[in-house]
């Protein structure tokens, strides 16, 4: 099994997450978290997909290059961004009302752990180096669908685990998981493998995935 570079992993995860959104016509308003999820925007091809940022914007455009940045315009990761035609602004309460009210079709977030009950831990690793929850809990509770875009394993081991060991962000909330080695969805309380990476066998994938998952005999390959 060939080791992928950090950048290869990130691009592959972003590309496959984008394909999942592109292929789901019910998803037109999406929220992208910081890190890998932000990259997803680069690979979306379907028209009329609107990115909302919880700091108060619908219709977030691409990153602003130096010289293009407007001092009053950032995304929720504090990065300067551009407007799109027809974008709109709102205050933080309306922004989260939009999220909690079910008007956001999908949130794409990074995660430390996802478990077999579809619970997700992505806001804190105890030990005192972090102090913040941001909008993660509201987004995961509120968005119609939750996509965890994350590396398959981390420096502390497996990330698709039987039971999250880290403090939860939300219980039973995840719909899909995209890693560099597979695209998974939760259906009827069970994890299903939809696509697999070309470098890995099903047996190898099971060894690095603590959650038991269902797979077709011929699982289609991920986009690379």
């Amino acid at each position: 099994m060939r080791e992928l570079s950090k950048e290869e992993k990130q691009i592959r995860i972003a590309k496959n997450a984008a394909a999942l959104i592109d292929g789901d016509e019910s998803c037109s308003v999406i929220n992208l978290g910081v890190g890998i999820p932000t990259l997803v925007a680069n690979y979306l091809t379907r028209e009329k997909v609107y990115i909302m940022a919880e700091n108060g914007m619908v219709g977030v455009g691409p990153m602003a290059a130096a010289g293009q940045a407007h001092p009053d315009l950032i995304n929720a990761g504090r990065q300067p961004v551009l407007e799109t035609r027809g974008c709109a602004y709102m205050d933080s309460a309306e922004s989260f009302g939009m999220i909690r009210g079910g008007h956001v079709d999908m949130t794409v977030l990074g995660a430390f752990e996802v478990d077999e009950e579809a619970s997700i831990a992505n806001w804190i690793i105890p030990g005192g180096k972090q102090l913040g929850v941001g909008g993660a809990m509201d987004l995961i509770c509120g968005a119609r669908k939750v996509l965890a875009a994350m590396t398959h394993t981390g420096k502390n081991g497996l990330k698709l685990v039987k039971r999250c060991s880290l403090p939860l962000t939300a219980k039973g909330a995840v719909d899909s998981v995209v890693t560099e080695y597979g695209v998974f969805t939760f259906r009827d309380g069970k994890l299903h493998l939809k696509r697999i990476a070309p470098e890995i066998s099903l047996e190898e994938l099971r060894r690095i995935t603590e959650i038991e998952f269902e797979a077709e005999a011929e699982t289609p390959l991920m986009l690379v």
Binding site: A53, E54, N55, G56, M57, H70, P71, D72, L73, I74, N75, A76, R78, E83, Y89, M90, D91, S92, A93, S95, F96, G97, I99, R100, G128, K129, Q130, L131, G132, V133, G134, G135, A136, M137, D138, L139, C141, G142, P167, L168, T169, A170, K171
Partner: protein
């Protein structure tokens, strides 16, 4: 204009130990001139209610660097390692609130709603100790409104009455905080005569605003 004053005059109303809301997200939409004046005033034992605390010694971070903070109520301090260290050493108290809950609790305070239910934080560490209730098969937690003695907010433009317009994502928590505090000070980049703002573009009507301060360095 009765409400126009210097930043120093405006923050003079603030007392040691007050609960103060300050607008902004990251370093955008933060009333920097008012924060400067608050730093210069040396008021202490403050409880700061804000989304984040800027960066170390930048934006709201200056209040902490200057030892004026007793407690923080907010959602995200990972941009300011000084705040994390102060909390870990026990120098300040921190109440972490999910960002949507923070916004809604501030909105509720301004709109006469003492408490409400939200699904955010149900079943998590941040939901522990909160009253729980099931609606339509789903678990919610009771959250209370968050009030303040003063709010320091930022807007793009004011008229001479104190009607406010905002710019892009610098709006964030500012219009909510304007309604939730006993005394609201708006820092603005531009002041025009009453009647010169298109009433349809006013986001915060003047009745919430007690003082208007012109942002310095514009």
């Amino acid at each position: 204009m009765d409400k126009l004053m210097t930043a120093q005059e405006a923050v003079d109303r603030i007392r040691d130990g007050d609960r103060i809301m300050i607008g902004g997200f990251g370093l955008r939409g933060c009333p920097d001139s008012l924060v400067d004046a608050l730093v210069a005033s040396g008021k202490k034992e403050l409880t700061i209610i804000s989304n984040d605390l800027g960066s170390p010694n930048q934006g709201l971070g200056r209040l902490l660097t200057n030892h004026q903070v007793k407690a923080l109520i907010g959602s995200y301090y990972n941009w300011n390692p000084e705040a994390i260290e102060a909390y870990n050493c026990g120098r300040i108290q921190v109440t972490l609130v999910p960002q949507g809950t923070l916004a809604e609790s501030i909105r509720a305070a301004g709109m006469g709603i003492p408490a409400y239910y939200t699904p955010a934080s149900a079943g998590t560490e941040l939901g522990e100790g909160k009253e729980r209730r099931i609606f339509q098969g789903r678990e919610y937690v009771l959250e209370r409104a968050i009030y303040a003695d003063a709010a320091l907010i930022h807007a793009k433009r004011a008229d001479s009455l104190g009607n406010l317009c905002y710019s892009k994502t610098a709006r964030n928590f500012n219009p909510l905080m304007a309604m939730a505090a006993t005394y609201t000070i708006a820092e603005v980049e531009e002041i025009v005569e009453a009647g010169d703002l298109d009433p349809d573009t006013v986001v915060t009507p003047h009745i919430y605003i007690n003082a208007v301060v012109r942002r310095l360095g514009i």
